[in-house]
Amino acid sequence: MSEKVFVLGGEQTDFQRNWTKEGKTFMSMMREVLDDALEKVGISYDEIKRLNKENRVAVFVGNFDAEQYANQGHLGAFLTEVNPALFGVPGARYEAACASGSVALDAAITHIRAEDYDLAIVLGVEVMKTVSSSVGGDFLGTAAYYDKEAKGVQFPFPKLFGKLADVILERYELKEERFMDALAEISRINYANAKRNPKAQTRTWFMNKEHAMARGGDNNMAVGGRLCITDCSQVTDGAAVTILASKDYTKAYAKKTGRKFDDIPRIKGWGHRVAPITFEAKKLESVGDKYILPWTRQTVKDAYKRADLDVKNIDVFETHDCFTSSEYAAISAFGISEPGKEHIAIEDGTIDFGGKKPINPSGGLIGVGHPVGASGVRMMLDLYKQVTNTAGDYQVKGAKNGLMLNIGGSATTNFVFILGK
């Protein structure tokens, strides 16, 4: 596995942009990000044409809900609008709610592992500022069991992850104050990290621990039980591309571009598990288990096993902090702490930017922003930057192996990838 699929790089859009206000669309976003990614990686459209003649290149588009946000489906075919060099290139759209980017990555990895293609372009895209936040909240409800969990509920997802916070508190018998303080610290870290990331949605927003702790009132409203605005990631418009390649292609690419083959990272492991779709079913299933999200933990374990690595080998994590409670639960799922003791890893600085196991140096979904279908691809791009020492101001010193966790729904679809050299 670890000698089969390589990552050549990629690019993301500035997640602060509002494309509707600019008078642009998801299509213009796809064009910009793909042009930028190819330029950055050093692959031309002529090269794609060449590969396509032999049916050695394909595109994989991660997208959650263009039908509702942009009144457009069939996005896999839309790359032909981006550039005529993509006429004839196999392409399809992949959907798994907020893990749409990962399911696209998974398909690309699988095809390269099977030696079907030499080059795979994975593009995650979501345009979300086309509608108001309440309408968008309802659209996002389709990532849960809509009829049972979202129909008629304003902002269903903060409420579902608010329930996760409730269960964490109850099961582990935590002191509420200490737990809420830990969640606020997660928020603080992600916003602080995003300040170093020039593509982050929140890089100019104000946030500190004091504000994250000041829950309630007009300036930090409660949106889901215990969770307030500062506990939430916010949706945005955005796209990200990562370009994957086979071993032979990577060798030739390294030679052509003057890079060292050994410096190009490879996919070392992956995990993919689906938990029961409703949060209630998840809760019931996990009674008696050490982990509240056992399938998330299992996905991480699967990836470690396939990579023949463990938490001690991972230098940097990108996790799905759609809410502070989801990042909290991920800490033990990664094996950084025992379940129920996540707050200690937060309090002692383990997951902070300069800590032993930094999580989300990019800012994560809370800091970078959450364009749903693009988030998984963006995480992979950030792992690439970290392990190739190209993350600029948010570089984790000496990072060799990185792990990402991308989830769809209320931790329903779980995807983990490990990237390293």
């Binding site: 600019e22 008078g23 642009k24 020039p198 104000f206 500190n208 004091e210 000041a214 009132g217």
Partner: protein
């Protein structure tokens, strides 16, 4: 980096004062003395500051006070005194005299002035005071508009300037642009040159569509969210006049004549029609009985307001469509090749904007990245250097300038083709400033 724990804000109840105070109290975590003419006004400023940065956590460290009762005590315990009172020497100088007497050695004092001479204002201070006196030109609203022109004068100390710049950048999150003490500094000098010359062209083409036509020609596809004349109407014609008069009176460059205020601007100002803030100026919006709003535009010939017209200019439509699809170079090719007087005007102003921006390097700023930052972060206009790239590089841009009889700045003549001319790309994606 300089440690700034206590700040005094003078003019705490104004939009700029409260907005800046909010940023300083929130991002800087500083204790802020909020001074206004009376304590009630200062308290209103605190509430406005809280609302601007949307955090209740700053309220407790903002202390209301009045100039009469609290200025000396507040200044004496401050690391930075930020003065945001009215834009005139007559108002600022007496206040500076009081600050100068009360400040401790080492305390930074700055003004938000958008045009007055920083060197002249600094004269109220002793040598240490002059060393620590700056222009910190924030833009409105400060939380959203992150530009800060840090204006230096000959009495400053480079080390202090560097430390203050780092504080503004790293702690307060400002996009810091260093400018010399010249009239209107960088952003307004460039921005108001374009706005005022466009206003003259509106008069020249009054029969063909005037104000509305010129804003259409200079609309989003030329790299700005709002037309130049809509911007003048938004900031207020009185403010526009103050800025261009100051530049006209105190500079002598190739664009000197373009800073003369057009006669119809003065006419509107005399009639109290100052723009959106007074209910009408170059345009006005009328709310009908059925609740519908209708926009009107001032007819320069008749002095009446006409319904705001719609235009159908094929090359603009085509360029806009290209921008909509993120084909920026394609859009500029359309502009380069189009025929008709509207296209000539578009090419003239694109050339003028690039030429004038780059010509100020050396006088107003030291590097083009500073003018690029001023226009990108302060006006949300595509920076001049980025425009050069979208037009196809220096050679192509020079061709355009020569055809429009616009002087070619040395910086562009010396530039190499085939290399990116815009160097702020990692901080500011210029593509986001074009509107389709």
């Amino acid at each position: 980096m300089r440690e700034i724990k206590t700040v005094t804000i003078l003019g705490a109840n104004g939009a700029m004062g409260s907005g800046s105070a909010g940023v300083i109290a929130a991002f800087g975590g500083a204790k802020v003395h909020m001074l206004a003419r009376d304590v009630e006004k200062a308290k209103q400023g605190i509430e406005a500051a809280v609302a601007s940065v949307k955090t209740d956590t700053i309220r407790a460290r903002m202390i209301p006070g009045s100039y009469d009762a609290d200025l000396e005590k507040a200044v004496a315990e401050s690391d930075w005194v930020f003065e945001l009172v009215a834009e005139s020497y007559e108002v600022k100088e007496p206040i500076n005299t009081r600050i100068a007497k009360a400040r401790r050695p080492g305390t930074i004092v700055s003004t938000v002035s958008s045009g007055l001479s920083i060197g002249r204002l600094a004269k109220a201070y002793d040598e240490d005071g002059q060393k620590h006196y700056y222009g910190t030109h924030f833009f409105n609203p400060p939380y959203k508009m992150i530009l800060c022109e840090l204006v230096t004068h000959s009495g400053n100390d480079k080390k202090v300037t560097q430390a203050l710049g780092e504080y503004l950048d790293k702690v307060l999150g400002r996009a810091v642009v260093y400018t010399n003490d010249t009239p209107a500094f960088a952003g307004n000098r460039i921005g108001f040159q374009l706005m005022n010359e466009v206003a003259h062209f509106a008069e020249k083409y009054a029969d063909k569509g005037g104000i509305a036509l010129l804003d259409e020609i200079m609309s989003g596809y030329t790299g700005r969210a709002m037309g130049p004349l809509a911007t003048a109407d938004f900031v207020g014609l009185d403010v526009h006049k103050a800025i261009v008069d100051n530049i006209y009176d105190n500079t002598k460059d190739e664009a000197h004549e373009t800073f003369k205020l057009p006669g119809y601007f003065q006419k509107l100002i005399d009639a109290g029609k100052l723009g959106m803030k007074s209910g009408g100026g170059l345009t006005k919006v009328v709310k009908h009985a059925d609740g519908k709003r209708e926009k009107f535009v001032y007819n320069i010939k008749t002095g009446e307001y006409d319904p705001y017209p719609k235009f159908d200019i094929p090359f603009i439509k085509e360029a806009r469509q290209k921008i909509k699809e993120s084909d920026y170079k394609g859009a500029m090719d359309v502009v380069k090749k189009a025929s008709g007087f509207e296209a000539d005007i578009a090419r003239y102003f694109i050339s003028r904007y690039i030429s004038y921006s780059l010509s100020l390097v050396g006088e107003v700023v030291d590097t083009k990245e500073n003018t690029d930052g001023a226009m990108g972060f302060g006006f949300n206009w595509v920076p001049a250097s980025a425009f050069v790239d979208f037009l196809g590089g220096p050679k192509e841009t020079i061709k355009l300038m020569e055809a429009s009889k616009i002087p070619v700045p040395k910086l562009l003549k010396d530039a190499k083709d085939g290399k990116k001319f815009y160097e702020l790309g990692e901080k500011l994606d210029a593509r986001s400033l074009f509107k389709g």
